[in-house]
Amino acid sequence: MKKSNREEGKLDSKSKVVKTLLKQAKVKWGINEVAKKGAFFISNQESLLDAGTLLRD
């Protein structure tokens, strides 16, 4: 699997223009909405929630 050769630090600060575009694009693509699935499948958000919860303790 290809490894990044840019694994040296935090994301560069996003410019104001990029931040605005990202926000607009996420809204347009519905990425801020929480999508849910049926009872036996953990959705993206739940997996993230699960993982984050385990780590934050």
């Binding site: 699997m1 290809k2 990044s4 050769n5 840019r6 694994e7 630090g9 935090k10 994301l11 560069d12 996003k14 990029v18 575009l21 990202l22 607009q24 694009a25 996420k26 347009k28 693509w29 990425i31 801020n32 909405e33 929480v34 999508a35 849910k36 699935k37 049926g38 009872a39 036996f40 499948f41 953990i42 959705s43 993206n44 958000q45 739940e46 997996s47 993230l48 929630l49 699960d50 993982a51 984050g52 919860t53 385990l54 780590l55 934050r56 303790d57």
Partner: protein, 540 residues
């Protein structure tokens, strides 16, 4: 394909395919690999779901996608896609860094930071809608803009230039799989969305390797295999299907294949001879006592989109309650591992792979099993999540023991705040006792994710209001909640004919609007919560 002779072991390639969230391996992959390897079979396993997302979210591939956009494609883009092209330089320059950050522990410390990283990756994946407009990728999810379960439509899509899976598998996976010289390629099809990727891979492999055989297994294909194998084109892509639990069947199948044994004797196997497909009887016996641990060797555990080694463990099958009328596992037998077996497995995976975080992926383990396990592992420093039924005997002490044993989040199906609806579901819980259960877990330090269901047969507006009131009344006790619309399992039951249960497909779907807000509660560190702006529309 190699010619098989007595004494030569079969080469099996075992793969998991998208979409699944790439933060840990899907359990059936290392589980079946472990069982086969223990029996001496040569197995090459690959989590193609992980490499799919890792490669499509690489600087090189994103740059390639941008560079190869034709003028006609660009002329056709809509305003949503135009926004993506405006961000293309940001995507190319940052995609590797964003992925890298999902693998750093500190990314999960800051509130919402990790959430934003995953949202950025989801957005970058939308770029693929320009070249492959019939699908929309997200991490762990794929939307198809066509009837993706219709065999005729699947069949024509497989060879289409807009089939992203054909593009991806040809470019990144085909060579690797064929280099293993497999006799059999086993592909898991757990969800409906995995059917097209599975058949795309099967089609490509069949076209590039004479005699290579395809074995499908998994929850979804177990339900729909009949439709697939009876289709003129799709039936040619599949050689074998294992229906239901595969632990015993896959060993029996591989042994029979290797020794030219009689495939009629392999329970749960669907196979074909010169006359057509044959469905063997289903294997009904099962025991955990003879099973081996999942084998993660060969999987790239540090490449998952998660900072720690985080592994799934099955601790039970089925549901010990088994009566809920909405549930697909209703009435099926329940099996569970012994607490000592689970502990041994956790210790082994910790020693061998450095895993300190575990997801108990079983949908309904006995709370008493979790209690006994917690008492055994309280000093190991391992953390885990699990699904749980909200039993009324779970008291304050019970919750504390679970916390001390490493439990940090529980996924609980409450379904409804209306006792009338719960009784109609045969859920077997008393809603008045649930609030003290929530308090006990909250006080112990265990976070609760609640599942709710709207639209159950006979549910009234008042019942729905009771559910919303229940959630709001207990907002401070939930970490998060989610909902689903009730869909009758397999549609409406119409009766039995010659022992076959006949269902009429359900046409009723539910659309919920403004039910959830993507917001964060400062006090409870929630990612989202339910609010009172409930609108429900029914679409027929």
């Amino acid at each position: 394909m190699r010619a098989l002779f007595f004494g030569i072991r079969m080469n099996v390639v075992n793969v998991n395919i998208p979409p699944w969230f790439p933060n840990q391996p899907y359990l059936s992959l290392p589980l079946l690999t472990g069982i086969l390897r223990k029996e001496g079979f040569s197995v090459y396993q690959k989590d193609i779901n992980l490499s799919f997302y890792d490669n499509l979210l690489s600087e090189e591939e994103i740059q390639y996608q941008v560079n190869t956009l034709t003028k006609s494609k660009i002329d056709e883009i809509d305003p949503k896609q135009k926004l993506l092209l405006d961000l293309k330089n940001f995507f190319v320059e940052n995609v590797e860094k964003i992925k890298w950050e999902t693998r750093q522990k500190e990314s999960f410390n800051a509130k919402d930071y990790a959430n934003n990283l995953f949202q950025d990756l989801d957005l970058i994946l939308k770029l693929y809608t320009i070249s492959f407009p019939e699908i929309e990728l997200s991490l762990g999810e794929i939307k198809y803009h066509f009837d993706y379960l219709n065999p005729d439509i699947i069949s024509s899509f497989l060879e289409s230039e807009s089939n992203i899976f054909k593009y991806y598998f040809s470019k990144y996976e085909l060579h690797d799989i064929l280099n293993q010289h497999p006799d059999i390629v086993a592909i898991g099809v757990t969800t409906p969305e995995q059917l097209i990727p599975a058949l795309s891979l099967a089609s490509l492999l069949k076209a590039n390797a004479d005699g290579l055989e395809i074995l499908l297994g998994g929850d979804y294909i177990s339900r729909v295999f009949n439709t697939i194998i009876q289709h003129d084109i799709l039936g040619e892509l599949v050689d074998f299907v294992i229906v239901g639990n595969a632990e015993k069947a896959i060993v029996n199948f591989c042994s029979a294949k290797e020794n030219y044994g009689d495939l009629h004797t392999v329970k749960s196997l669907v196979w074909k001879n010169e006359k057509g497909f044959i469905c063997n009887p289903i294997e009904s016996s099962f025991t955990y006592s003879c099973l081996k641990f999942p084998d993660f060797d060969g999987l790239h555990l540090s490449d998952y989109f998660f900072p720690e080694v985080y592994l799934p463990i099955e601790i039970s099958k089925g549901c010990y309650w088994g009566k809920c009328s909405f549930c697909e596992i209703k009435g099926k037998p329940y099996f569970q591992k012994r607490a000592s077996q689970i502990m041994e497995e956790m210790i082994q995976q910790n020693k061998k792979y450095g895993a300190s975080y575990f997801a108990f992926v079983s949908s309904s383990p006995s709370p008493k099993l979790l209690l006994e396990l917690s008492e055994r592992i309280y000093d190991l420093g391992l953390k885990w999540s699990a699904f749980l039924r909200p039993e009324s005997y779970i008291d304050e002490n019970f919750a504390k023991i679970l916390y001390n044993g490493g439990c940090r989040i529980l996924y609980i199906g409450f379904e409804s705040g209306s006792q009338r609806v719960l009784d109609a579901m045969h859920k077997g819980i008393d809603i008045t006792k649930v609030e003290s259960l929530l308090k006990n877990f909250k006080n112990a330090g265990i976070k609760i994710h609640g599942y709710f269901m709207f639209g159950f047969t006979g549910e009234t507006e008042e019942d729905r209001k009771n559910t919303i009131d229940f959630i709001n009344r207990n907002k401070g006790l939930f970490y998060s909640v989610s909902y689903s619309g009730y869909v009758e399992p397999y549609g409406s039951f119409k009766g039995e004919v010659n022992g076959l249960r006949i269902y009429k497909p359900s046409r009723k779907e539910f659309t919920y609007k403004k039910l959830l807000q993507n917001t964060c509660d400062e006090d409870n560190n929630r990612l989202y919560y339910i609010n009172l702006n409930l609108e429900i529309t029914y679409e027929n």
